[in-house]
Symmetry: C3
Subunit: 158 residues, 3 copies
Amino acid sequence: MTQDLMLRMELVAFMDAYAALLDNDRIEEWPAMFTEDCLYEIISRENEEQGLPAPVMYCDNGRMLRDRVVALRNANIYEKPQYRHFISGLTFRMRADGALDAQSSYLVVNTSQAGTTTVYQAGCYKDVVVRVDGQFKFQSRRCIYDTSRVQTLLAYPI
Amino acid sequence: MTQDLMLRMELVAFMDAYAALLDNDRIEEWPAMFTEDCLYEIISRENEEQGLPAPVMYCDNGRMLRDRVVALRNANIYEKPQYRHFISGLTFRMRADGALDAQSSYLVVNTSQAGTTTVYQAGCYKDVVVRVDGQFKFQSRRCIYDTSRVQTLLAYPI
Amino acid sequence: MTQDLMLRMELVAFMDAYAALLDNDRIEEWPAMFTEDCLYEIISRENEEQGLPAPVMYCDNGRMLRDRVVALRNANIYEKPQYRHFISGLTFRMRADGALDAQSSYLVVNTSQAGTTTVYQAGCYKDVVVRVDGQFKFQSRRCIYDTSRVQTLLAYPI
């Protein structure tokens, strides 16, 4: 088997683990999927294309990711979403330093507390994935959303 | 390649085969994806979390699965759905006895006879998969749905 | 690893590359995913099942594919869509001549220029995939859609 296909399988397993923890109420495990010195942001495609840095969520280190989790668990001002993430169109290439530049499409559906499931957000992940002690970690995960008419406040990670 | 990645690929192929037969009007092949002594049920997340055993569909052996298929083919009281199943976030672990505990998210969209496609149901599969004569089978597939506002009667398997 | 699982991985990578170029505004690369002597069509499930050859898009060689791309780039009469393709339920078998007959379900969501994301179309891909100079190409890709209430003109490839 080529190294490309092998890496692809590992990437898919890594991204499935990411989706699984967000969709099954295990956000405490979310920060550990990133390197300590990381970037996580959610930004609109419009802003991304125009080079306007105005993300709706922005974390540039592990502490900020962990703070976000604590805030979400303790602040009951948001209705807790029930997301389901679907990923497709994964492509990637390896940089000279061994890091992987990866890109994929995502669809998030959400079920409200009233029990209705709707399309919540579609967009594109742009990632940099590195290996730390044999495990993949996101050095950077940028969520670039198409859906500008977001129905509810975007407080939870995508 | 690690055994984990190898098993993952086999599981994905197995789950794709399951989705393909439901989405392409081949439900006669559905019972053969289970062991004879099996569990198949569809239950709401609310009931699952509260430990209330009130599934909307329940089959605990192969005969019940086959009966369900015969009923669906012969009783024309239901509009036959045109489902498309999408799976994500697959995680699994092997038990001491070699069976696989697997979990994944699903999204089912349906196209009505009027030609409109809508989100039908999102939820989570919790599975026990075993190998019988070299082939994977569901010893148990539990469909735990998020979507409590189900638009039409849930008569077809998910 | 069995040859079947190996081919499956290559097919998934190929289909992900297809989805990625359509979803990220790189349609110039779309024709190169087909053999020069090819078939690409989009047809309703109803017409497919009744054997009525009335596709809404039909190209039977590479030149027609390239013409389609030029037309889409130059004719500004259509609102450019922002599709996201999701694929599931992949099954395939190898013919005696080595070509692969493959089938999968698709879901395309679209985000309008107003920023709303909706289910655009669900359906089924029926493909013939061949290897040319070591690379997979579609000899035939037929998009058989369930969704007959198509909201906007179907001008872009699926």
